[in-house]
Amino acid sequence: MRKHPSESPAPHQPPYRVFRLLKEGIPDPVGTKIADHAKKVLHVDTGRVGCAKLFLVYAPISPSQLEEFAANGLRDAILHDIIINDIPKPASAMAFITVARFPGVTDDEGLSAQAVMEDLLELEPHLDQRVFSQDIYWFEHPLDAKALTNIAHELLGNPLIHHFEYGSGIPETVFDPRVSIRADSDTLPEIHPSVDLTGDDEALLRVSRERLLSLNAAEMRAIARHFEDAGVLAERQALGLPTHPTECELEILAQTWSEHCKHKEFSAIIQYRDLETGQSLTIDSLFNAFIKAATRRIQLDLRKIGDDWLVKVFSDNAGAVKIDDDRLFIWKVETHNSPSALDPYGGAITGILGNNRDPLGTGIGGARLLFNTNVLCFAPPDFAGELYPGQLHPRKILSGVCRGIEDGGNKSGIPTVNGSIVFDDRFRGKPLVFCGTGAVMPAFYKGRPSWEKEIAPGDLIVMAGGRVGKDGIHGATFSSAEIDEKSPHSAVQIGSPIIQKRLADFLQAACREGLVKCCTDNGAGGLSSSIGELATISGGAFVDLAGIPLKYAGLKPWEIFLSESQERMSLVIEPRYEAELFDLARLHEVELSVIGRFTGDGFLDVRYDDRRIARLSMEFLHHGVPRKSLVAEWKRPELSAPAIPQNPDYGQILLSLLGSPNIRSRESIIRRYDHEVKGLTVIKPLMGRSGIAPQDAAIMRFDHDSFQGIAISNGIIPRYGDIDPYEMSAGSFDEAVRQIISVGGRLPGSSGIRNGFWSVNDNFCVPDSVFDETMNPDGKLKLAKLVQMCQALYDMSVFFGIPMTSGKDSMKNDFRWKSVKISVPPTVLYSMAAKVEDVRKTVTSDFKAVGDLVYQVGETFDETGASEFLRLFGQLGDRVPRVRKETAKQRYLAMSYAIARGLVESCHDLSDGGLAVGLAESAIGSGLGADIALPALPLPLTSVLFAESHSRFVVTVRSGNRDAFERLLGPDAIFLGSVTSGGNLHVRAASKAVLNLPLAALTEAWIAEGSLE
């Protein structure tokens, strides 16, 4: 059955226009907010701002039907006035902006309105979108075109996806948001224009560039050679396929071979040389040598002791670990950097929803999504330097990304339980947006192991979820390229959490009923990637593109196959379950279509009806990409010891630190994320008596039936890499471990309980690290940094016995404009999860009661290099905090034991800003003060207070537990003083006051009102 929309809405018929305005006298908080932001951010005084909606109705309904639809379907009788087909103008309005979406951009509100119309008027559901929504803003003050453009672009929308109209009177024209259907849409699309690949490297590279393939000369040559092969030629001739690859074949190869999908640089052979020692070494794939090797070693160790919780690694969308015999924990953290640079809201929301689909599509599929975690790296929102064409202001990126996280999590009913924001000017090269999702899957569905992906020839390929449009064409290749002012706008997409929620509900039910053999998500590369990968299991696949439902006509076959339209999954279905599956989909209102079947003939065979579009050997598709060979050269940076003024004002330093971008409170952002839907969150990002105490790791229960749960943390400290990339990576790993220890986690193997899993997701985000004399002259050094980061990961992971169950790398995080190049600092995020036997025994960071004793646990060293403290003075320093993993491990074991025995009242890990900030944060959250006497140490006082030495905690203990605690921790327990009721943080050194600050001042500095908006 043909599912392509074909009936064209009458193009000359003007639509019905329904204006929906707030009634006179009803406050308009959204308008007020826009007015505030215009004043604060753009320094434009708009006067009062009013918001209205415009609905365009292209459906052939009668005027009386329209009135009924408007009055009952679109209007809130208390809030709204409706005006039909007449353009209202509030008396006081002196200017307006209308915001419409470009054709094809997701318009959920329009679609919902259409569904309401169909319900209300009892119309048959229509395939094409026939109701659209637009926003209108009225301004009290007269504003010129420049001010209006500024407001529109900065506060109301994004010129990449929105059409704006401005004026002083009333909007006279209405933007037509429909996708114009091409005149030839009735004729079938051209089937196989082939692409000539004869010619020299320059010619091949031109093809790669012009078609946005992001393939290099060697890769293009490999493709050309494959099609020159006599066997291939003969076979193609026999089937009537052109000699040269078809457009679709070339696109499939480019997507499948993209850095995003094939991780060519993590798989490359690297010649590494230390220029100082002259030592050199050959690394046969970073992935194999460090990530796979470490995890494999841990897996073998676990098997030896018979604790087999590491169920699945190295394949599928995410790894799986065992909670118990009935349940698996699955999780994945990914980045969505490039899309977030172009449209921060769309980039973040599609990142989150896309990442949600990874656990949903692991094994058989249908895992229950438990939590989201997000880590963001931006330039500071008050960045005042120069921006280049194609760059958005960091403030706009921050606010858009946070709104995307808000909608992506909240509207999906997934709590955002933990996260972090790191600010550094260099992230204006590309913002980094890490999205993580954890999920729980039954270990067996109807007796079948859920983590396995089995496919046999003859199984059906079923596409489920949203329809296919031009969205996100070239997402995979685009994310594998640097951003410039010409970056493809079709890569911008807006996700729809509600369509995905329906899909997820359906999929969970279908898997539970045993109707799904397995599934995967359609992410980067769309169907070409999802089916191309699934087909490796059966040994081939056949797809008929004519059966795929489209959002609108006019897509070329290769576009259908490669489109990254969101909220879609590919299901593998045994034919006997087809009917039952379709019934269930109808209940959930999820669109399904059978688009092909799996085969075992070794080919990916794509057709449009009976015409061949592509036919590629699976072997060549997945193993034909030539390996890269790269060079890395390490040279230590030139460093100098810090020069800090004598006897500085420690109080002022602490206040400045508390208000600094990387330390100040995130409350204004966190409150907008629902962090407790599901009712299972136990340690949330904000807690304590004041409800604002920041926490180290999140704790969540798995369900309402037991108090078992999971701790979730994130370690990321890119600035340390400016001194030592190995220590940066090791330190980030330690940060993630110690945060979990801090709330009461227990190291692998130490609790004596089976299935006490720990798991880390590694996410590398680095600048282009491939040497090029003109384009990337420091590429060898950048690659050497990456090598060291991986070495540290191997060392830490094996030492602590924490395997990498999933991971990802993003290799081209640079911005380029003419001769300007901005590279992000090499960054790695370790997201960690660990099972917790009893969430009721976990510990929070805020002080609990007056009289409790305060300890520092763990030694401080004279290592302020790359600290937040030195950053205040504009210095880098020389000695970066070093991880001393042997002592750290002993300390962590002792701390876990102390917490399990109930000896610890509060625990906060020390990181940015050191001891002083740790004490302040524990106090701020509790409303209590502390009286501290620093021990005499052979260290500068600035180091004692502000050094960020790893593996340390601030702990409070009831006075009655003093002996027991000190016995357990030994010399690691450094007594500092006690918790006081005075509301003062009072710190003395050698009986001289160094800090004496009221809680109110600390809190005020830390909240730094408005600074993150």
């Binding site: 319900d119 994320y673 839907v677 309402h704």
Partner: protein
Amino acid sequence: MRNTDTMNERNGRVKALVACGFGINCEDETAAAYRMAGAEAQIVHLNQLFSRDVSLHKFDILHLPGGFSFGDDLGSGKVLANKLRYKRMPDGTPFWDELLRFIHNGNYIFGICNGFQALVKTGLLPNISGGFEQEVTLATNLSGIFEDRWCRIVRNPGSTSPFLGDLSTIELPVRHGEGRMIARDAGIRDAIRHLRLDCLRYCDEAGKPTNRYPLNPNGSDLDCAGLTDTTGRILGIMPHPEAFLSFCNHPDWPRLARENRHSHSKDDGHGLQIFRTIVAHIHTSKCKERSEKMS
């Protein structure tokens, strides 16, 4: 007259229908709440009700949970309200008639957050006129944003809602962007106050109702956090009692645990109390009704 005889079939256990689908997302914890309170809970996709796969009349209480039905498009709960009012069942009769019959038969409806928003937009709450027209709305928070924060809520001492029993004050999380109650006119507003339909109100530490942000998180008129209808059998509230089923949901639980300030059984959260109250009430009243019928 009641037409269910199901109390017998299920050994007198109260049966709750917890709706799901279309972006509703608190169905799991809501079902858990009813189970912990001693009821049977069944999660049912709204389309199963609309298609008569599942009959509403097999249940004692219909629960509309929190979430983002239809993504809050056109205003929170609006599209869901339209479905409830206008969706036709396979035989052509509107589902709305079915719902009115369910209410008429003496059953209960409880809406939380998005469920509350839908209830006011269908006209089921507060329904002072008895004609099921929309009398109040829940508009965008005065802050203009969605917020997740814990609030203190006090029961209107004059309220006789069977959902609230002798509750005094309770701390619960709110998680919404549209919770500001606005009455259609002064008449409705006065009637709400006069009839004490504003059964729950945002309050300060001392239990005094307040419109001060963030104690009152959304700027709600009458500091209103929840409304009942005139029969008391329909309740809608913005805060989420189903998110406080365990004491360790509270943002300050470690300190409160130390001070032994949480009452009830050791692990229970205070939100459970509301579910226990209504389940016990339904159980008692239906047992009574049955014994009356039998005698």
